[in-house]
Symmetry: C2
Subunit: 238 residues, 2 copies
Amino acid sequence: MLQPLSNCAIIGAMTGTPRQRARAQAIEDIKRIAKEQLAREGSAALSLRAIARELGIVSSAVYRYVPSRDDLLTMLIVDAYNSLGDAVEAAEGACARDDLRGRWLALGSTARAWAVERPSEYALIYGSPVPGYQAPVEQTGDPGTRVSFLLLALLVDVERRRPPSAPLSGPLGEDLAALRDTLGLEIGDDLLARGYLAFTAMFGLISFEVFGQYRGSFTDCAAHFEHQLGRLADLLGI
Amino acid sequence: MLQPLSNCAIIGAMTGTPRQRARAQAIEDIKRIAKEQLAREGSAALSLRAIARELGIVSSAVYRYVPSRDDLLTMLIVDAYNSLGDAVEAAEGACARDDLRGRWLALGSTARAWAVERPSEYALIYGSPVPGYQAPVEQTGDPGTRVSFLLLALLVDVERRRPPSAPLSGPLGEDLAALRDTLGLEIGDDLLARGYLAFTAMFGLISFEVFGQYRGSFTDCAAHFEHQLGRLADLLGI
DNA sequence: AACAAAAGAGAGCATCGCTCTTGCCAGGAC
DNA sequence: GTCCTGGCAAGAGCGATGCTCTCTTTTGTT
């Protein structure tokens, strides 16, 4: 299980020499303003010059703290992954471990609430990739898998309660077997496939809502989401 | 049912005065190069100056044909919606009308194939909105609903074969009733909700694949997609 | 107090979207 | 056939971007 890493920046700001503290604080300020800009203007309009203006310094000074605009975006993506991971882990961890359905519902509801509250940050990690920019996996890798690992852990607990199912044949069966190997988790093909579908459908629901694809079909998106989350729980057999 | 409108540009290029033909051809050239740029660089890197360079004209000349970069984006979005609509309508229309499952599978497979072939155009319509730009609904409205209308028509045929289900209560029930009213379609609450889930899950699956969220979990994404499409057909009871 | 490292300032380069003015040139009216 | 007007391209220019370079100032450390 992954550790909550998102507060390491705060820890960093409290330790070290005054120079290091000031530097960490400056980076935090830059990221804070960047997130505000992101929420106002969108990811492509993220401007280091505008950040510098708002910070009251000249644009070239920002480069003392951030190597480039793309690196700043990567930092924000990592932050977003960790923020989402923190929220979902906390909510899921508050459930009784044997309350499988409750854990799934908590996971989903919290992810949706997080996304609806920060649509711009959600778009950063689950939207179409920012053009001309591919987030480096070595940076985003671990934080980017926290939610999926949470679901996988849930699936392991589900599997324990269910009779073992026959493995799937064909190319999908081979892929699932390979996944089982690399992850080292005991989840049958059937449940693993159902889990993938539930996970993808859940983020599909969130994306449709956040990105405005419903075009106002629902006045109460939360009710719709909860309803569908229940259906997905049924699909998982919990 | 909506007409296939996407070839009106070609019709426009064949008719009218030489002036109008040349103008329509120029706009087509601009859009073609824009799509190539989109595929290479991404939507935010879409540059009118680069288009002008590739076209061998000066940047200001492009503004004779395209009012602004945002308007060009809107044109591309409408084109993408229509291209996807054409493909899906053709594939679904080739199925026997009473082959409900076949129609659903054709709809989904074709949508996925279209998206995998043109990830940049898919991102344009189903990705996170291009920053600082909201596609005007009056332009994208009709083409943007073609696929959903196809699914709704399918759901109507499904409903005819199924025993009527009890309406849902609560806010979701009210939303679904309002949808039934405005659309004028006879689809029960239960099936309508299932249809929404299936639709959203399908595009969630496509988005996860196209946007690289699976991080290489599947060597055969098509097999995985077909498998899940079958599960969603089961969910629809077809 | 002196030093060195870090931070900031400013100029500059290439790019972008977009506007304006200036010519040019061909299609349509006569 | 000629004339003229409307559409078209060119070019300069404005404000903005990311990023680099150099120079100066600040500041923590010794």
